[in-house]
């Protein structure tokens, strides 16, 4: 097989960081090549260079053996390179067809979309994608939006397709479909560069290039390596691939209910029913896993459980006391801790330093105040103690949190919420985007809290992790709890069906 796309000594710097350093890598015609690496390893930067969005500072790109000097994505598109972005670049207000056509100059100056519609319909038929081309993209499910993104690239006659973490927002069922589509692309002669950090997907590729800290570690065939070897190449050391909780004492545990949620509904600002009759309970010393593709009501559920939002209907009780409608400070005072999913936007104030972020929300607490003033000495000593305890890598407690890596920033939130809460811990995607080493650490901390008798709600998109950690798993879809399953007897397939809305819909 010949090289269709090649990076030669590619170097890309951003102020203060080298994102890619002398990266050499080649994509052969008709192969699925996986770029594998941790967050921040430089995968997305490399792909952005390959499709002309960024211009490398050193080295060059070859297409079909000739040097290609991409000044903008326009040039890359002309050379047949298409890109499917991890964070969709879609216009919610536009129809599917408009999203595919915009910026392509496929119509005359007057919008005539009949030819474009025919071509898109042809592509849909070819890849068995079922989409209403006139639907507003904002109304589509996240999984369907992924098909729109893929159609956008195919519509431009891409010969090389770069897929940046395409399965991140898909249900297991949808991921399978995605990989069937990828297989079909391969049959049609397309070359695919797949960026992923999911081992299952990596093992399906023809070849894998592992990136670590902006450099290529090696390019290997998955057939010749084990997942453990690949992980070691990626992280640079051995890590426990999956946390497995000790379950020996589980049988004797009786969970005395801490949090009870009954028939809670919530309508968001646009009038959409974000939570629909949600009922669940969590006991002392229990981890309730929450599975589901994000955007199916998890965020609203977490915000209701922490008092940020007030439910439209239903009741909440904590240790038998009704708490719905109380201000969120009351929730905090009663021992509820929240780890929100968007750590820099909701969990922290990025410009504030670590010490300030450690007491965020507790600034009125007696421990931190001297009359009406903040007791900086006390805050400093408590915060610095937590920095040591949670192994936060920072020059000092006075460092603003936006100077920290995602993992260290997350530890600041964990430290704050773990120390100030006493009963109920709400953790929404606490490991998203973190490196394996940090994930291991976060889970160990959560397990320790379980042993202390906390009731814990843990949402994650990593089903394997939920299966390994939870006492029970609740599955959410479309704002409803579609099922609560036992991790010891359930399967990924069963959860996948529930994530897609339940068994009835799947049969149809």
């Amino acid at each position: 097989m010949s090289d269709i796309l090649k990076a030669v000594n590619l170097t890309k710097r951003f102020p203060g960081v080298i994102a890619n350093e002398n990266v050499n890598f080649d994509l052969r015609a008709g192969e699925v090549h996986c770029l594998f690496g941790e967050n921040g390893a430089g995968k997305s930067t490399l792909s952005s260079c390959l499709f002309g969005f960024y211009q490398p500072e050193g080295g060059h790109i070859e297409i079909g053996g000739e040097i290609a000097n991409f000044k903008s994505p326009r040039d890359a598109i002309h050379m047949g390179v298409g890109m499917v972005h991890q964070h969709f670049v879609l216009v919610a207000e536009f129809s599917v067809l408009e999203n595919i056509v915009v910026g392509t100059h496929e119509s005359g100056w007057q919008l005539k979309l009949t030819d474009a519609r025919k071509r898109v319909e042809g592509l849909c038929a070819e890849y068995s994608i079922d989409l209403d081309l006139d639907a507003r993209v904002g109304d589509l499910a996240v999984g369907q939006q992924q098909w729109v993104e893929i159609l956008k690239a195919l519509f431009l006659d891409a010969k090389v397709l770069i897929l940046d973490e395409p399965s991140a927002v898909l249900t297991p069922e949808e991921s399978l479909r995605l990989f069937r589509i990828i297989d079909h692309m391969k049959e049609l002669g397309l070359s695919i560069l797949l960026i992923s950090h999911k081992m299952v997907e990596v093992m399906q590729a023809d070849r894998v290039t592992v990136l670590r800290k902006g450099k290529v570690v090696d390019t290997v065939c998955p057939a010749n390596v084990t997942p453990n070897e690949l992980t070691r190449m990626m992280v640079g050391r051995d890590v426990e691939l999956r946390m497995v909780r000790d379950r020996t004492e589980d049988a004797e545990r009786k969970f005395e209910t801490v949090l009870n949620v009954e028939k809670v509904s919530y309508r968001d600002g646009r009038g959409k029913l974000a939570l629909d009759n949600v009922s669940l309970h969590i006991g002392k010393g229990e981890i309730l896993g929450l599975a589901g593709v994000s955007g199916n009501g998890q965020k609203e559920l977490f915000e209701i459980l922490s008092g940020v939002l007030v439910p439209e209907n239903g009741c909440l009780s904590l240790d038998g006391e009704r708490i719905e409608g109380l201000p969120s400070r009351q929730y905090m005072d009663r021992g509820v801790g929240l780890v929100p999913d968007d750590r820099f936007r909701e969990g922290l104030i990025p410009e504030f330093n670590i010490r300030e972020n450690m007491i965020l929300g507790w600034q009125r607490h007696d421990d931190y105040t001297n009359g009406m003033f903040l007791d900086h000495k006390q805050i400093g000593s408590i915060a610095d103690g937590l920095i040591d305890e949670f192994q936060i890598a920072t020059p000092s407690g006075a460092t603003p949190v936006n100077h920290l890596s995602g993992g260290n920033a997350q530890k600041v939130i964990l430290a704050r919420e773990f120390v100030h809460s006493s009963k109920l811990l709400l953790a929404n995607q606490p490991t998203r985007g973190l490196d394996l080493g940090v994930i291991e650490y976060v889970y160990k901390q959560i397990i320790a809290k379980r042993e202390e008798g906390y009731a814990i709600l843990l949402a994650s998109e990593e089903l394997e992790d939920l299966l390994n950690l939870s006492d029970r798993i609740a599955v959410m879809s479309g704002g409803k709890i579609t099922g609560i399953v036992d991790p010891l007897t359930t399967t990924v397939e069963e959860i996948g069906l529930l994530m897609a809305g339940g068994k009835e819909e799947q049969a149809a």
Binding site: H85, V89, V91, E93
Partner: protein, 309 residues
């Protein structure tokens, strides 16, 4: 009062409404184009004022109101160029840019005006006359209200469907609306975001300058300090009230203009209420409207947010 008199008053109020709509409509429809591209130009008031002032100077200096109209558009375009440079190129906060432009132009026009009239009686000019449209203007009532107006009034009303067509029926319009919703979608296709933002701001500012020019040449014969008196702000309110749709904006502008027209007629009718209260009506209405429209549905998602890669 007799029926005939009442009818005449009513027709006069409505014809006045249509005329008063003209400058606000130019500014609002122009600013709509700018906002649909994601740029919140808060400098509409200042841009309009600049158009009015330049129109005055050119009209009195050359005696030609059509040259004055062109000059007003050019003045709007120059202010637009500054706005676009600040917001699209320098990516300065859109509100701060608008604030600066309004303050700058308010001071600058007054200063230039003083220099211009120094040591002489304030020069005046002959403004626009009505140009009745043959046949249509002889329709009872409607003819007088809609078809016995200044030429630029017809242009302003025609600009509404024209801009609608541009926004919704052309490739250019699709790309422009894309900027307001998600500029990255164009950027990743290798199309210039900045260039399109310049175009959108320029179209908006030229139309706003034209609105200012008409305000000067269609209603008055001399310049006064801050002659726009908040009409630029009303244009912005009209966009919000009209939910960023051409016909919604048209309707909102009509409401403001009707109130102002009623206010000017109250003086003539001798109603026993201070007419200043009526003059405040459009502005009171705009506040009431904004309170009622708490949801900003229809607002472009990336409106007012500078685009960084």
């Amino acid at each position: 009062m007799g029926d005939l008199f009442q009818e005449a008053i009513l027709v006069s109020i409505l014809a006045g409404t249509v005329r008063i709509m003209t400058p606000i409509l130019f500014a609002a429809i122009g600013e709509l184009v700018t906002q649909r591209a994601g740029i919140w130009n808060m400098g509409v008031e200042g841009t309009m004022l600049m158009g009015a002032f330049i129109a005055y100077v050119v009209a009195t200096a050359t005696g030609s109101i059509w040259i004055a109209v062109l000059a007003a558009m050019l003045a709007g375009g120059v202010v637009g160029l500054l706005t676009a440079f600040m917001t699209a190129t320098m990516r300065v906060d859109h509100f701060i840019t608008g604030l600066g432009i309004n303050l700058l132009i308010s001071g600058l026009t007054l200063y230039w005006f003083r220099i211009y009239i120094k040591g002489r009686a304030q020069p005046t000019f002959e403004g626009f006359e009505n140009v009745p449209i043959p046949v249509l203007s002889s329709i009872p009532y409607l003819g007088e209200i809609l078809f016995t107006q200044r030429i630029l009034t017809y242009v302003a009303f025609l600009s509404v469907p024209a801009i609608w067509f541009l926004l919704y029926r052309t490739r250019w319009g699709l790309e422009l609306r894309c900027l307001g919703e998600n500029p990255k979608a164009l950027d990743i296709k290798g199309l210039s975001v900045v260039r399109r933002q310049y175009t959108a701001v320029l179209i908006g500012s030229i139309m706003t300058g034209l609105g200012g020019g008409f305000l000067m040449l269609g209603f008055s014969d001399r310049f006064l300090a801050d002659i726009t008196a908040g009409r630029g702000w009303l244009a912005i309110v009209a966009i919000i009230a009209g939910r960023w749709m051409p016909r919604g904006v048209l309707a909102a502008v009509a409401v403001f203009a009707l109130l102002e027209s009623v206010a000017t007629h109250v003086q003539v009718l001798g109603v026993d209420i201070p007419h200043q209260i009526f003059l405040a009506l459009p502005y009171v209405a705009s506040i009431v409207l904004l309170m009622m429209l708490r949801s900003k549905s229809g607002e472009p998602r990336r409106l007012g947010i500078p685009y960084f890669r």
